[in-house]
Symmetry: C2
Subunit: 337 residues, 2 copies
C-alpha cells in the first residue's frame, strides 16, 4: 500500500471518523489535491478499509471558457472509471455578482457542497486541502494582523455550517467538513501519488495568477521563507495545530470579558464617558491595540448598546462587533480557503 494511502487512513483514525455505513461527499475540482484524495479513498474502499457511500461533487465555476468544461469532463470520466457517484453543479449568476471574485466563487462552491450534502444525507464533506493550503492560510491571516483565531488556520474537522455562514441554505446541522490531508500531505505528495497511479490531473491557471494574494504568497513569499527554514510549510502547519489546541482549551474555560463578550448591562449603567472608556479598553483587549479606531467606530458601537434592535453589527478595521445574547461580541476578520 502506498505511503499516501497509509497516511490517509491513519489520519482518518486519528480524527475519529467512522469506517463504514456513512455517506461521504468528496469535493473534487480536478486538481492534484482533490484527485489524490478521491483516488486514495477509492483505494481504501477497494481494500475494504472503508465501506462508505462516496459521492464526488464537482462545481463548474464557468470562469474560464472551455477550461472549466474540460475540468468537468475530466472529473466525470474519472468518477466513471472509479465507479463513484458524481454530482455536478454550475455557477449561475457569478457575473451578476460583483465584488471579490475569489470570495464569490468560494461561496458558490460551498453552497453547492452544502446542497449536495443535504441531498444525499451526508455525514461528512471531505476536501483535499493540504498542509501547503494551511501554511498559506496562516500567512494570509498573519499579514492581515490576525490574532489567535486566524493563526489557527483551518481545522481538520469542523461543522459544515458555521454560525457565521453567509448563506441561508442549511442542511443537516450535524454534517461535518473534513480535511483529511490538511495536517500531513504536501502538495508534492498529492502529485506524486497521482503519478504513481498514472492518473492525470488538471491545472488551474488561476493558481498562477499573481493578481491573487494567495498566489503571491505561494510563489513569492513562501520561497523566501524557505531560505530561512526549508521546512517552513510543515512549521506553519504545526503552528496552526498548536494554536488550535490552545484556543480550544481556552474555549473550555469561563470566558473573560476581554476575549469574550462585553455585557450590555455594564454599559447601560455607566456614564457617557465611562462607556467610551469601557468600550476602548475592551477593544484593546480584543484587538491588541486601539490603533485605527476612530470616533465613528466607537459611536457605532454605542448605537448598538443603546438601540432597541437586536442582532445589529458594527464594522471596525479588522473585525466586527455584534450584539448577541445581552453582550457585545468581537470577531476578527480572517480567511479560510
Amino acid at each position: 500500500v502506498h505511503q499516501f494511502v497509509r497516511n490517509l487512513i491513519t489520519e482518518w483514525r486519528r480524527l475519529d471518523l467512522p469506517f463504514r455505513a456513512a455517506t461521504v461527499v468528496i469535493a473534487v475540482s480536478g486538481g492534484a489535491d482533490s484527485v489524490s484524495l478521491l483516488l486514495a479513498l477509492s483505494e481504501l474502499r477497494e481494500r475494504k478499509k472503508l465501506d462508505h457511500r462516496f459521492v464526488a461533487a464537482h462545481f463548474n465555476h464557468g470562469l474560464r471558457d472551455g477550461a472549466s468544461d474540460a475540468d468537468e469532463q475530466f472529473v466525470r470520466d474519472l468518477a466513471t472509471k472509479l465507479n463513484v457517484e458524481l454530482a455536478v453543479g454550475k455557477a449561475s449568476s457569478l457575473s451578476a455578482n460583483p465584488g471579490n471574485l475569489e470570495q464569490n466563487a468560494r461561496r458558490a462552491r460551498y453552497d453547492f457542497l452544502r446542497q449536495t450534502a443535504a441531498n444525499v444525507g451526508a455525514l461528512a464533506v471531505v476536501t483535499g486541502h493540504t498542509i501547503n493550503d494551511q501554511a498559506e492560510t496562516v500567512l494570509m491571516n498573519l499579514l492581515r494582523g490576525s490574532g489567535p483565531d486566524g493563526l489557527a488556520g483551518m481545522r481538520p474537522v469542523r461543522p459544515l455550517d458555521l454560525e457565521e455562514a453567509e448563506t441561508d441554505l442549511r442542511g443537516n446541522p450535524n454534517t461535518i467538513l473534513v480535511r483529511p490531508l490538511l495536517t500531513w500531505a504536501r502538495r508534492v505528495d498529492t502529485e506524486a501519488y497521482c503519478h504513481h497511479l498514472e492518473v492525470d490531473y488538471r491545472y488551474d491557471t488561476m493558481n498562477e495568477d499573481t493578481a491573487f494574494k494567495r498566489v503571491r504568497i505561494r510563489k513569492v513569499l513562501l520561497p523566501l521563507l524557505e531560505d530561512f527554514n526549508p521546512r517552513i510549510v510543515e512549521s506553519l502547519g504545526n503552528t496552526a495545530t498548536l494554536m488550535q489546541n490552545l484556543t480550544e482549551s481556552a474555549d473550555d474555560r469561563p470566558r473573560r470579558t476581554g476575549n469574550g463578550g462585553l455585557p450590555l448591562a455594564d454599559l447601560r449603567t455607566a456614564s457617557k464617558n465611562e462607556v467610551n472608556d469601557i468600550i476602548r479598553q475592551w477593544l484593546r483587549e480584543c484587538r491588541g491595540s486601539t490603533r485605527q479606531l476612530q470616533l465613528k467606530h466607537i459611536q457605532a458601537i454605542e448605537r448598538l448598546v443603546f438601540s432597541t434592535k437586536s442582532g445589529r453589527t458594527a464594522e471596525l478595521p479588522g473585525g466586527t462587533v455584534t450584539k448577541r445574547g445581552g453582550s457585545l461580541v468581537y470577531k476578527e476578520n480572517k480567511v479560510e480557503n
Copy 2:
C-alpha cells in the same frame, strides 16, 4: 510636549508603573532606540512627571575595535549632559566563549544589567525595544516553527530573572524588566525624537550585517511583507499582544495534560508500549505533530521517567523536556532580543 514623550507617559501609566521614589536602570547602547528612551525619561523627570533615581547602564561588548569604545564615550558624554548617573560594564571573556556570538553577547549584557540592578537596588530595568524589535522577534519565532509562546514575542513587563535564566547571578527577585516603547514606538519614531532634540545617536554596523538572521528579517523579509500590508510591523506587534492576552488567560485555568505537564506517575504504572504511546501523544499535543521525533528522543524521555536523578532534561528538535515537580514539562525553543 513632543508626542513621543506623551506616548511614553501614557504607556507608563497603562503598565501600572510607579511615578516616584523608585530606582530605575535604563539600558543605553547608544543607538536611537535607547537614546530616545533616555532623553524622554529625562524630559519627564525635568517636567516633574516622574521623580525617580535614574541610572543609565551601558555595556561595552568590546566587539568592534574602536567603535565600541566610541559608543561608550558617547553614552558617557550624554549621561553627563543629562545629569544621569551611569554604570559601565565591559565584556571580559567573550573571545574565550565560543558558540553563538549574538547569544553570548546578549547573555553578557543581561548579566551586567542584573548586576547593576542589584547594585543600585533597582525596581526596574527599562530597555528601548521598539515595535520593530517585536515584529522581528515574532517573525523569528514563526520561522522556527514556534507555537503560541513564541508568537507572543516579548512582553512589555516581565520579571528580570526568568525561571529559565541561563545564569546563577540573581538579584532582587522582584526586579522587573520593562520595555515601555515595545507596543507603540517604531524605530523611525525614536530617530525622529532624537532629531527633534538635535541629539545624535550611534549606528551599530552589526545591524547591517546580513550574516545575522535578525538583520535578514529586517532588511529582506519585512520589506517584502510591507508589499502585502504597509502596516505589517504594527500588525505583528498587535498579534504578539493578542497572543499574550490569550496565553495569560490560558495560564489562569487549570493546566491540561497536553499543554502542561505529564505526570510521571501515569508513566511509571504503564506498560512499556503504553509509555511510548503516552509520550508520543503528549508530545503531539505540545508540539502539534510528532514529525522530526526519532526513537532516540523518546528513549531519552523514557530515561528521564525511570532515572532517579531529578532536574534532568532531554533535548528534542524545537524544544526540551524537563523533569520537574513530579511531571515532565515541555518547553519550546524561542528567541527574545
